[in-house]
C-alpha cells in the first residue's frame, strides 16, 4: 500500500516549472498550444488537462516595492476521500493508500470524476477515450524512484516521503514561516478531504494559490439508472456508448484543442 506523499513547500518554490516539463517528459505528454501566457503573468494556463497534469500557479501581490510573487504547483491531490473514486461507476478510479489511481482497462471515459473533482484535476482524453491525471509517478515510485516532478525540482520545494513525516515537516516549516512574520502561513492538505497525497506549506490563504479554501466533492448529477446500467454493462464487457453523448460538448472542445495543437506540432 502506498503510504507516501509529496510535500509542496511554496515558500521554497522559485516558479521555474521544471516539475511541469519533467511531468510531460516522463509521462510522454505532448506540448499543448498556448497562444500567450495569462494576463500579466508568466503562468501559461490555469486548468489541468489530459495532457497537462500539473500546472504552477503564479500570484503577484504588490504594494509599491513591497511585493511578493508566489508560486504553487497543482495537480491531482490524491485525496483520501476521493470524489473521483466514489462517483466512478466502473471502479476504474481506485485508492491504494495515499495514491488515487486509474485502472485504464476499466475506465470508459464517461467522466463523472471530471465533474466531481474539487481541484479540476481529472480530464478526459478524447483520443484515448479515458480520463487522465497525475499518477504520483507510481511507475517510478514502485521501482524506488522519486516522482518525476520531485526529482526535477532544483529548489528543494518538493519532497517525497512517508506522509506522516511530510506532514510533520510541513507543520515545522509553517512554524518557521510564522516565526519570520508570515502570519497567514499554514498547511494545506493535512486534513482536507481526509488528507491529501500532496501536503502543502502555503505562505498565504489557499485562495491566493487558486486552491479551494474548504474543498469538497462537487455535486454531480448521476442518474441512478445510468450508473447502474453502465456498471452492469461494464461488468458484461459492453461499451459505455449510451452515456457518451453527455460529453459531446467536451469532446468537441477537446478536438478543437487538438487542432490548435497541431499548429505547434
Amino acid at each position: 500500500m502506498t503510504t507516501q506523499a509529496v510535500l509542496v513547500d511554496t515558500s521554497r518554490c522559485i516558479g521555474c516549472r521544471a516539475c511541469m516539463v519533467a511531468c510531460k517528459e516522463w509521462n510522454e505528454l505532448p506540448a499543448e498550444h498556448v497562444e500567450r501566457t495569462l494576463p500579466g503573468s508568466y503562468q501559461n494556463r490555469d486548468d489541468l488537462t489530459s495532457q497537462t497534469w500539473t500546472v504552477v500557479h503564479f500570484a503577484e501581490q504588490a504594494s509599491g516595492d513591497d511585493m511578493r510573487w508566489l508560486f504553487a504547483k497543482t495537480q491531482c491531490m490524491h485525496c483520501a476521500d476521493a470524489a473521483c473514486v466514489s462517483v466512478c461507476p466502473t471502479g476504474a478510479m481506485q485508492k491504494d493508500g495515499t495514491l488515487t489511481y486509474l485502472d485504464e482497462t476499466k475506465c470508459i471515459g464517461e467522466g463523472y470524476c471530471v465533474a466531481a473533482c474539487p481541484f479540476g484535476a481529472v480530464a478526459l482524453d478524447e483520443g484515448k477515450g479515458i480520463v487522465q491525471k497525475c499518477t504520483l509517478c507510481i511507475d517510478r515510485v514502485e521501482h524506488g524512484e522519486l516522482p518525476a516532478c520531485v526529482k526535477a525540482c532544483p529548489a528543494d520545494a518538493l519532497e517525497f516521503g512517508d506522509r506522516a513525516q511530510m506532514v510533520a515537516v510541513a507543520e515545522a516549516r509553517v512554524g518557521t514561516l510564522k516565526g519570520r512574520g508570515l502570519a497567514r502561513a499554514r498547511t494545506y492538505g493535512v486534513d482536507e478531504l481526509g488528507g491529501l497525497g500532496y501536503v502543502y506549506v502555503l505562505q498565504d490563504d489557499p485562495s491566493v494559490y487558486q486552491l479551494p479554501e474548504r474543498p469538497s466533492a462537487r455535486p454531480v448529477d448521476i442518474p441512478v439508472q445510468a450508473r447502474d446500467w453502465v456498471a452492469g454493462a461494464a461488468a458484461f464487457g459492453l461499451g459505455a456508448i449510451p452515456v457518451w453523448w453527455v460529453f459531446r460538448r467536451r469532446t468537441r472542445l477537446a478536438s478543437e484543442a487538438a487542432e490548435r495543437e497541431g499548429e505547434v506540432r
Binding site: R12, I14, V34, T37, G40, Y42, V264
Partner: protein, 811 residues
C-alpha cells in the same frame, strides 16, 4: 568565480546583485537554499522584481547602469563606519601603499586622461617607491596619500543621499543593505557576492565588478569559504571557452595576446609582459610551452618557438569591431561556431545588414539559427513590414550541422572552474559532427590547399603540430591542453613542471594536471567525499588551477596562519607539516601559496617570483602579493570605480561633468545612432527567462518550453501602460534610435518607474531570447540596443538604453 557553486552554502549573507539565479541558474538554487536554511540572509538588487527577488529577505530596485554608485555607497559605508576587517586590509590588500604624488581625480577624470584619444596613461597611478624599488607604505593607513585615504576621499562622495539620487534606491533601503552586508566584515562571518550580466553588460562593467571586489577585500571576504566574488556564467561551458581564449585579448590561460606594435619579437613579449615578482614571473614557462604545443617539432629555440608565425594583434577584434568592420565592407568571410549573433549581439539591424555584405558565411550549429537564416524572407527589415529578399543578398551561406552535447565526449568547465568530463551518450544524428571534427577537418583541408606554398606567411599554418587522429580524439586534445614533456610525451602533473626551453608543451597552463591520460583523467573523477566538511569535494572533477577550489585561500588564515574562522577552515599552517616536518600549509583545499613558506617568512630582498613575497602576502598572482583595492595598472578606465551614466541615459551625471565612460569607444557610423531622452524617454533593460536559453535556438525549438513561454513580450507597469493607452495583451511597438520591435504587452507591478535624481522615469523590460527563426519566433530585443561596450572587455551595454513605447495596431 573565486569560489565555487557548492560554497554558497557556507555564506552568512548572500548578495545577488546583477544576476538572477532562481531563473537563470535554478540548479544552483539548492546551495543558496542550503545557506538560507542555516540562517543566511539573502539580498537581491535588480531593476526588476524577479523569481530570485521572490525569495529574498531584502530586495532593492536599482536603476540599470548604476551599480558603481550603489557599490560606491557600500564602500563608503564600510570605510566611514569602520566595518572593514582591519588586520586583513592592512596586511593583505594594498590599502597601506602610498600612491604617486601626481595622482589625482578632478571633475570626473583621473589623472593622465587624453581627451583626443579617449584614453589614459597610467604613470600617475603607480605606487611611490623606495630607492630599492619596494613600494612605500604606511601601515597605520593615516598618510593622506595611502590607497586607503585616497579611497576614503573618493567614496565619501557616494553618500546615501547621492546613492538614492543616482540609483533610485531609497537611502534607508540602501543603508539597510549596507548594514546587513558589511556586518560580514568580521573573522567569524562570511558574505558572498553573486553577479552576471546585470553587472558586466555595461560601459562600466569591469569597474562594476571591481567595486564588488573592493567591497569583499575590505570585509575580508576573499579567500574564505562562503565569500568571494562569483560570476554565474550563462552557459554550461562559457568558463571553459574563456579559459581557452575565446576572448580575443588573450591567448589560452589569460596571457595577453601579442601585439604587433609592442611585441614584435618573443623577447619583447616576454620582457614587457612578465613581472619580476609574483607568480606571473613564471609566464615565460607557460607561454613558450604554449608555442611548443602549437608548433611541436617545428618550434625551436632558434626560431623563437615559432613566435614569428603567430599573428599579432594590430587593433581591436571584439564582436563590436567585427560587425563594424563587416558593416563597412572590410570583412568578406565569416565563420560562426556555437554562437547566434543575429539574436545575441547588439544593434541587430547593423549586425544583419553587415552580414549582407559578406561574400560567404559559414554557420556551424545544431539549429538553423537566425544567423544561418539572416538572408531569408523570415527576417523583418528595419522599421518596415517588409522582409528580407533572398534574391538581393549575394552572400553564399554554408551550414554545418553540429552534434549536441550528448552526442560527443569532452569536458565542461563550470563557473566554479570545475572541469568535468563526460562521455558520448548517443551517436550524432544524421550528418552532424562534433565541433572538434569540423575544426579538425577545416584545418586538414587548409593544409592541403596550402601544401605547395613556399610563402613565409604560410609557414605557420603548414608547421602546426596537428595530430589528433583521422577521427579526431578528444583525449588527444585533452592531453595537449594538459601539457606533456617533449620527447617522451609524459603528461605533466602541474604547471610547476613547465619550462621555457622547449622541453615541455602545454596548451593551457591553468589546466595542467587535469588530464594525465585515459586512466588518470581527473576531470572524470567522481568521489563525493568531503572530509573537511567545508564543501571543497576535492575528489569530484578537477578545479583549475591544481584542483584548488577557493582562490587566494591563504587569506582564509590570519597573519600567523591560523584560520580566521574555525567553523569554516580552508587551509592553515602546520608547523610540523611536510615531508621533513619543517612546516607546511595543510587543510581542506590545495593551498594557493608556496606550500612550505611559513607565515612569518620575510620577503627576500631583490627576490624574484614568489621569493619576493612574504608569508603574509596571499595574492600571489599580484607582483606585490596583495589584493588590489586600487589598480595601478591593468585597466584602461581608471584605478578606482567611478560612476558614469550609461551611454544612453535620461539624465546627466550628478557626480561629475563626464556623462558616460570617457574611455568607451563610440561608433558613429550611419547604423549607430544615439537616442536622446527627449525622443526616447523610457529606460529599457533586457533579461532572460528560466524557460528559454540565450539566443533561443535550443529552446524556441522545443514544444515543452514554448508552451511555457510561447512568445516575445515586453514587461511594463500598469500605471505606465495606462498613460500610453495600453492594456495587457496589446501589441506594442518599442523603438530606440536604432530600430523598433513589436511585442505583446505584459503588465506587471514587478516593473516600476525608476526615481532618477528625484524624477520618476518610466521603464520597460524585454527578454532577449527571440528571433525570426525557429518554432517560436518573434522580434529581437537586441534590435534596440547600441553597439557600445565596456572600455576594457567590450561587452555590450544591453542592460540600460532608451526607448519610446506606443500601442500598435494588429499585425
Amino acid at each position: 568565480m573565486t569560489n565555487h557553486w557548492i560554497d554558497f552554502r557556507n555564506a552568512d549573507v548572500i548578495m545577488i546583485n546583477g544576476c538572477n539565479p532562481a531563473e537563470n541558474h535554478p540548479v544552483a538554487w539548492h546551495w543558496i537554499r542550503t545557506a538560507m536554511d542555516r540562517g543566511a540572509k539573502l539580498i537581491n538588487i535588480d531593476p526588476r522584481f524577479t523569481r530570485t527577488s521572490s525569495q529574498a529577505d531584502v530586495y532593492a530596485r536599482i536603476r540599470p547602469g548604476t551599480n558603481v554608485a550603489f557599490a560606491g555607497g557600500l564602500i563608503d559605508h564600510i570605510l566611514q563606519n569602520e566595518r572593514y576587517q582591519k588586520p586583513y586590509v592592512v596586511a593583505y590588500t594594498n590599502a597601506p601603499m602610498i600612491v604617486d604624488d601626481r595622482y589625482g581625480f578632478t571633475d570626473g577624470l583621473f589623472s593622465g586622461y587624453d581627451a583626443a584619444t579617449r584614453s589614459y596613461a597610467n604613470a600617475t597611478w603607480q605606487y611611490k617607491r623606495n630607492a630599492d624599488g619596494t613600494p612605500q607604505r604606511d601601515d597605520t593607513l593615516a598618510d593622506p596619500r595611502t590607497v586607503f585615504q585616497i579611497m576614503k576621499r573618493h567614496y565619501a562622495r557616494y553618500t546615501p543621499e547621492m546613492v538614492e539620487r543616482i540609483t533610485g534606491i531609497p537611502k534607508a533601503k540602501a543603508v539597510e543593505i549596507y548594514e546587513l552586508f558589511s556586518a560580514t566584515g568580521r573573522p567569524d562571518r562570511a558574505g558572498t557576492v553573486l553577479y552576471a550580466m546585470g553587472q558586466t553588460q555595461a560601459t562600466i562593467g569591469t569597474q562594476n565588478i571591481r567595486a564588488l571586489a573592493i567591497t569583499q577585500l575590505l570585509l575580508g571576504n576573499i579567500g574564505i569559504a562562503g565569500g568571494g566574488v562569483n560570476a554565474l556564467r550563462g552557459e554550461a561551458n562559457v568558463q571553459g571557452a574563456t579559459d581557452m581564449a575565446l576572448l580575443w585579448q588573450d591567448v589560452p590561460g589569460y596571457m595577453g595576446i601579442p601585439r604587433q606594435a609592442a611585441h614584435p619579437t618573443l623577447k619583447d613579449y616576454l620582457a614587457k609582459e612578465t613581472p619580476a615578482t609574483g607568480y606571473w614571473a613564471n609566464k615565460p614557462n607557460f607561454f613558450v610551452s604554449l608555442l611548443k604545443a602549437w608548433w611541436g617539432d617545428a618550434a625551436t629555440a632558434a626560431n623563437d618557438f615559432g613566435y614569428d608565425w603567430l599573428p599579432k594583434a594590430k587593433g581591436n577584434y571584439s564582436v563590436l569591431e567585427i560587425f563594424d568592420s563587416m558593416w563597412n565592407g572590410k570583412i568578406k568571410g565569416f565563420t560562426v561556431i556555437g554562437e547566434n549573433p543575429a539574436v545575441g549581439s547588439p544593434n541587430q539591424n547593423k549586425v544583419r545588414e553587415a552580414m549582407e555584405k559578406l561574400d560567404w558565411l559559414v554557420v556551424a550549429d545544431q539549429w538553423l539559427t537566425e544567423t544561418a537564416e539572416f538572408w531569408s524572407a523570415k527576417r523583418p527589415l528595419r522599421d518596415t513590414a517588409e522582409t528580407a529578399d533572398p534574391t538581393k543578398i549575394g552572400t553564399e551561406v554554408f551550414f554545418l550541422p553540429v552534434a549536441s552535447f550528448n552526442e560527443r565526449a569532452g569536458s565542461y568547465t563550470n563557473s566554479g572552474r570545475w572541469i568535468q568530463w563526460m562521455e558520448k551518450a548517443v551517436e550524432p544524428e544524421g550528418d552532424s559532427r562534433s565541433d572538434l571534427w569540423i575544426v579538425d577537418r577545416l584545418y586538414k583541408e587548409l593544409r592541403k590547399a596550402y601544401a605547395g606554398s613556399t610563402a613565409a606567411k604560410d609557414r605557420g599554418l603548414l608547421s602546426l603540430a596537428w595530430d589528433y587522429g583521422d577521427d579526431p580524439s578528444f583525449e588527444k586534445v585533452a592531453l595537449e591542453i594538459n601539457g606533456y614533456t617533449y620527447g617522451l610525451r609524459e603528461p605533466i602533473a602541474s604547471f610547476a613542471a613547465l619550462r621555457a626551453d622547449g622541453s615541455t608543451a602545454c596548451g593551457n597552463w591553468i589546466y595542467a594536471g587535469y588530464f594525465q591520460g585515459h586512466e588518470k583523467n581527473r576531470a572524470a573523477a567522481r568521489d563525493a567525499a568531503d572530509p573537511g566538511g567545508v564543501g571543497t569535494y576535492a575528489g569530484w572533477a578537477y578545479s583549475w588551477p591544481v584542483n584548488r577550489r577557493i582562490l587566494y585561500n591563504r587569506a582564509s588564515a590570519d597573519l600567523a596562519g591560523k584560520p580566521w574562522d574555525e567553523k569554516r577552515k580552508v587551509i592553515w599552517w602546520d608547523p610540523q607539516g611536510g615531508a621533513q616536518k619543517t612546516g607546511s600549509w595543510v587543510g581542506n583545499d590545495v593551498p594557493d601559496f608556496a606550500p612550505a613558506k611559513a607565515p612569518g617568512a620575510a620577503a627576500k630582498p631583490g627576490g624574484k617570483a614568489l621569493d619576493a613575497l612574504a608569508g603574509t602576502d596571499p595574492f600571489i598572482m599580484k607582483p606585490d602579493g596583495r589584493g588590489w583595492l586600487f589598480v595601478p595598472s591593468g585597466l584602461v578606465d581608471g584605478p578606482l570605480p567611478e560612476h558614469y551614466e550609461p551611454f544612453e541615459s535620461p539624465v546627466g551625471n550628478v557626480m561629475s561633468p563626464v556623462a558616460f565612460n570617457p574611455v568607451s569607444k563610440v561608433f558613429s557610423g550611419a547604423a549607430d545612432a544615439k537616442g536622446a531622452a527627449g525622443d526616447f524617454p523610457v529606460i529599457a533593460t533586457t533579461f532572460r527567462l528560466t524557460e528559454h536559453y540565450q539566443g533561443g535556438s535550443e529552446t524556441r525549438n522545443r514544444p515543452w518550453l514554448i508552451e511555457l513561454q510561447p512568445e516575445m513580450f515586453v514587461e511594463m507597469s500598469p500605471a505606465f501602460a495606462a498613460k500610453r493607452g495600453i492594456v495587457d495583451g496589446d501589441r506594442v511597438q518599442v523603438e530606440s534610435a536604432r530600430g523598433s520591435v513589436f511585442a505583446r504587452a505584459l503588465l506587471t507591478e514587478r516593473i516600476q518607474p525608476f526615481q532618477v535624481n528625484g524624477t520618476s522615469v518610466d521603464a520597460v523590460a524585454l527578454p532577449w531570447h527571440w528571433g525570426f527563426a525557429g518554432l517560436s519566433s518573434g522580434h529581437s530585443a537586441n534590435v534596440l540596443t547600441a553597439s557600445i561596450g565596456d572600455a576594457n572587455t567590450f561587452i555590450q551595454e544591453d542592460k540600460a538604453f532608451l526607448v519610446r513605447v506606443s500601442k500598435a495596431g494588429p499585425q
